[in-house]
C-alpha cells in the first residue's frame, strides 16, 4: 500500500466516523457491532454463539430453504430462505462445510421472513438457516452437493 492510497483510506474511514457522529448513521446499527469472532469461528455452533449468543437450536420445518441439490459451481450457490414462524427477528445463514461456516446474518427489523442471496461453498455440505423468533433459535438445513469448490483454490 503506498502513501496515497493509505491517505485515501484513512480519509474514507474518518468520513464515515464523522457521518456516524453527526447522527447520519445510527451507531450500533452500522459499524459498531460487526461480529468478527462469528465470522472467524471454525465450527457452526461457536459461530452461532458469537453471532446470536446461543449455539443450540430447535429443528423447525417452518423454515424453508430453497437451494439447488447439486451446485456445479460452489462460488455461486443461490439460496432463498423463507419462514412461516411469527415474529422473526433475524435470519442467519451458515455453510457447515466451509472453513469458517458463518456466511451472513440478517436483522429483519419487522420485515418479512424472506431472504434471497448467493453464497460460496467450499465443498459438499449442509446449508444451515437459523431463525431467531421470540428470543429462541430455530433451524433447518439442506444438503447441497458441490462439484467445484468456491473458496480458495
Amino acid at each position: 500500500m503506498n502513501r496515497r492510497t493509505l491517505l485515501k483510506r484513512t480519509l474514507a474511514v474518518s468520513a464515515v466516523s464523522v457521518a456516524a457522529s453527526a447522527g447520519l448513521l445510527a451507531p450500533g446499527q452500522v459499524l459498531a457491532a460487526y461480529p468478527k469472532a462469528a465470522f472467524e469461528a471454525k465450527d457452526a455452533s461457536s459461530a452461532l454463539s458469537a453471532a446470536l449468543g446461543a449455539g443450540n437450536f430447535e429443528h423447525s420445518d417452518a423454515i424453508k430453504i430453497k437451494a439447488p441439490d447439486i451446485a456445479e459451481n460452489g462460488s455461486v450457490v443461490p439460496v432463498t430462505i423463507e419462514s412461516s414462524l411469527s415474529g422473526v427477528e433475524s435470519i442467519s445463514l451458515l455453510s457447515e462445510a466451509n472453513n469458517t461456516p458463518m456466511v451472513a446474518s440478517f436483522n429483519l427489523n419487522g420485515s418479512e421472513a424472506y431472504i434471497s442471496t448467493r453464497i460460496k461453498m467450499g465443498k459438499t455440505g449442509n446449508v444451515l438457516a437459523v431463525v431467531k423468533s421470540g428470543g429462541k433459535l430455530y433451524a433447518n438445513k439442506k444438503e447441497v452437493k458441490v462439484t467445484i469448490g468456491g473458496c480458495g483454490g
Partner: protein, 103 residues
C-alpha cells in the same frame, strides 16, 4: 465506487419486494493469485443496511462467503412511492449507497 448498486423495489399488496445487485470483488482472503503465488487480501462487504424512508428495514452482517457481485432480495412492508435506500460498508472502510422510489 459510484453506482455500484443496482436497486429495484416493487410494491404489491402492502409488501415491497426489494432486489439489489452490488458490484464488489468479495475476496475471502483465502485465495491465491495464480501469477504471483501471493495471497489476495480479504476485501468483502461487512455491513448492508436498507432503509425505507427513515426506518431501517434490514441490517445485515456479511462475511467473505457471500458470492462475488452480491445479489440480495428481501421483502418489507411499504407502499408505492416510498423511498428505499440501500448502503454497504466493506472491511476497508469503503462504502456506497443507492436510493430508489418503490414502484
Amino acid at each position: 465506487m459510484a453506482k455500484s448498486i443496482k436497486l429495484r423495489a416493487k410494491a404489491k399488496g402492502g409488501i415491497v419486494t426489494v432486489k439489489a445487485l452490488m458490484n464488489h470483488p468479495m475476496e475471502t482472503g483465502l485465495r491465491k493469485d495464480k501469477k504471483t503465488g501471493k495471497m489476495i487480501p480479504a476485501h468483502h462487504i461487512q455491513e448492508v443496511t436498507a432503509k425505507l424512508g427513515d426506518k431501517t428495514v434490514l441490517d445485515a452482517v456479511w462475511g467473505g462467503a457471500i458470492s462475488k457481485n452480491p445479489y440480495l432480495s428481501f421483502k418489507c412492508n411499504g407502499a408505492k412511492g416510498d423511498s428505499l435506500t440501500l448502503s454497504w460498508v466493506d472491511n476497508k472502510g469503503e462504502s456506497d449507497s443507492s436510493t430508489t422510489a418503490v414502484s
